[in-house]
């Protein structure tokens, strides 16, 4: 595998978009791994008083003109005549943004009384210093959802599902396709016939009706870890057959090739010829195919979530986060609900560009 790694590095060195994609993906997967530390709030930490809060304004100046480290204000809303939320900031105190607080990378520190407001602004005669601790600020870098949950945190937690479901799903379906397609193409004869008829049966299963059936048959209240695995299972089950047929065709045409005849003439075992000589010829195609289908899995997961089969609130995935951005009205009022789509787009695009680089890696001819 070492030469392949070295080749991959030189391919990346020569291909700037792939290099950027690679680091984007590294960053995305690292942030998924570190989500509990990077996210300022837990994914289900809600604050209903701040339903649909827009991204927090980050201030540097107090009302008296003094400069401070970045801070945010507590916000609240009222409704205007059209029943739309109107947000106002509470200027009586500020919430400094602090790093490495509450066991997370960043969050809000304790409130500090605003110097200019003083006693006059206090309603009910309490000294500001006395009720300061009752005030709560929330940091919404990317806005909030209907229940006042921080969208950034939810995107970070959701990436754990969305970024892995495609990779694991594609890995499983590709592996099945490799084994089935490889054996069918290599063995030929009745083995080939049986395996290909099996593929056709799987391809005949109408995906949508299968999903509806499963929706009806399976319990609603499954733990989302279980749901996660059965989504992967369903998607890989639906995905392997087409790929297996293509692979079988590729292996079949490879069987005619001189170098497979040569490796037979040199006395190599059929397994060795299949795994080391025949199947690797398809890796270039497979790597492109796999990276191209990862986005499909990510999107399919969101489709399943929409049907109530996928990851359900309060657990998050990019798919079910995007459900909130499904109507024009929502997007107009809360445009930040589209942001999970930006992450989805970045991940999908990066996988595709990386797919090209992978293909070049597996084909040494492309280098010289």
């Amino acid at each position: 595998m070492k030469p392949a790694l070295r080749r991959f590095r030189s391919v990346l060195a020569a291909n700037a978009p792939a290099r950027i994609s690679f680091w984007v993906l590294v960053a995305l997967y690292l942030s998924a791994l570190l989500a509990p530390w990077l996210a300022p709030y837990a994914g289900d930490d809600e604050s209903r008083a701040r339903s649909w809060a827009p991204p927090s304004a980050i201030h540097l100046r107090e009302l008296d003109g003094s400069w401070h480290a970045p801070f945010v204000r507590s916000v609240s809303y009222s409704f205007d005549d059209d029943a739309l939320r109107v947000w106002s900031e509470d200027s009586t105190c500020r919430f400094p943004i602090r790093f490495l607080v509450h066991g997370r990378l960043f969050g809000l520190g304790n409130p500090v009384a605003s110097p200019i407001v003083g006693r006059d602004a206090v309603v009910g005669g309490d000294a500001p210093a006395a009720n300061l601790h009752q005030r709560q600020g929330r940091l919404y870098l990317l806005g909030a959802d209907a229940r006042g949950r921080d969208l950034l945190s939810r995107i970070l937690y959701g990436s754990r599902v969305s970024l892995t479901i495609g990779v694991v799903g594609v890995a499983i379906s590709t592996l099945i396709a490799l084994v089935v397609g490889g054996i069918a193409g290599f063995a030929g004869g009745w083995v080939d016939s049986v395996l290909m008829r099996l593929c056709e049966v799987v391809m005949l299963v109408p995906a949508f009706y299968l999903l509806m059936l499963l929706r009806a048959a399976l319990p609603l209240d499954w733990d989302s870890r279980v749901v996660y695995f059965y989504i992967i299972l369903i998607l890989s089950f639906l995905g392997w057959a087409g790929l297996a047929r293509i692979l079988r065709g590729m292996i079949q045409s490879l069987r005619q090739s001189d170098f497979l005849a040569a490796s037979r003439a040199l006395g190599l075992s059929p397994w060795r010829i299949l795994w080391r000589h025949a199947l690797p010829q398809t890796f270039g195609f497979l790597s492109v195919q796999a990276t191209l289908s990862i986005p499909g899995y990510i999107v399919a997961e969101s489709g399943l979530s929409l049907l109530g089969l996928g990851i359900q609130d309060p657990q998050t995935s990019w798919g079910n986060l995007l459900e909130e951005a499904m109507s024009i009205a929502e997007i107009r009022l809360h445009p930040w609900t589209l942001l999970p789509g930006v992450f989805l787009f970045a991940a999908v695009l990066s996988w595709n560009l990386l797919g090209d680089a992978l293909r070049d890696t597996f084909d040494p001819r492309s280098l010289s």
Binding site: D258, F259, A261, A265, G267, L268, S269, P280, F362
Partner: protein, 320 residues
Amino acid sequence: MSTLLSVEDLGVSFATPEGPLRAVDGISLSVERGAVLGLVGESGCGKSATASALCGLLPPGARTTGSVRLSGRELTSLSEPDWRSVRGRRISMVFQDPMSSLNPLLSVGEHLVETLRTHQNLSRAAAREASVGWLRRVGIPDPAARLASYPHELSGGMRQRVMIALALCPGPDLLVADEPTTALDVTIQAQILDLLATLRGELGMTMIFITHDLGVVERVADRIVVMYAGRVAEEGAAARILSAPRHPYTRGLLDSVPGFRPRTGRLPSIPGAVPSRRDWPSGCRFHPRCAHADAVCGESVPAAPGPDGGAACFHPAGVP
């Protein structure tokens, strides 16, 4: 000298929708240990089918009849797993086109190490060392550095050298070289032929050298078998066949090699083409193209040459 390989009445037929197609129709030959047999003939005469049958590499639809014995062991009845113990170790093969006979995704070293470790119980390091030795032996400059090269980085001649190293490294008793120089430039051809001659001297190699080129076979073979239309036309010591061919077909072949015999005027060629395998001519299969054919040639089949050589012809030249 003992006989290493003896082929008796070997027939190869392929199943086709229009019925069986007999590519090889009862050929017999034998190869002495340490000797080089040249198998000569035009395209479609059954040379390559014979070679494939010797290595058990015929496609699944093919049927073989007759007998092939290697050191007395019958090969035609071997099962596929048994064949594996023969290929490489007992009979190895060099293919025609070095451009496509190496796996493009594996380096030269990976090819050699894999083959060596398939046949010998070697550590990876020992196999690498042995690989360097083999590359040096087949005349590849800077062999240690070449281990990391991929096939596309090598020239055709270099690739064929690698193929030869691959075929020889398991230590086969018999090497079948199926037109190993046909795809190469003439100068490279000569180098490869020299290499095979050198290796033969070093290793005491037994070889069947298949070619359509009499100029090539002259340089390597001790004995020559000329095939025509699935049968043996003539057999004999190389020197005798090249200097005094008896079969009109052999003569025609020799006459059509430029510069082989001093000659003036237009280079002669054998009229017509090799007949279709679906529709062999009756009697002597060469008779429609033969200048000496008479009535008997079209009716009965001439006897195949015996073990001492000779021509399968009713009117052989040079025989009273």
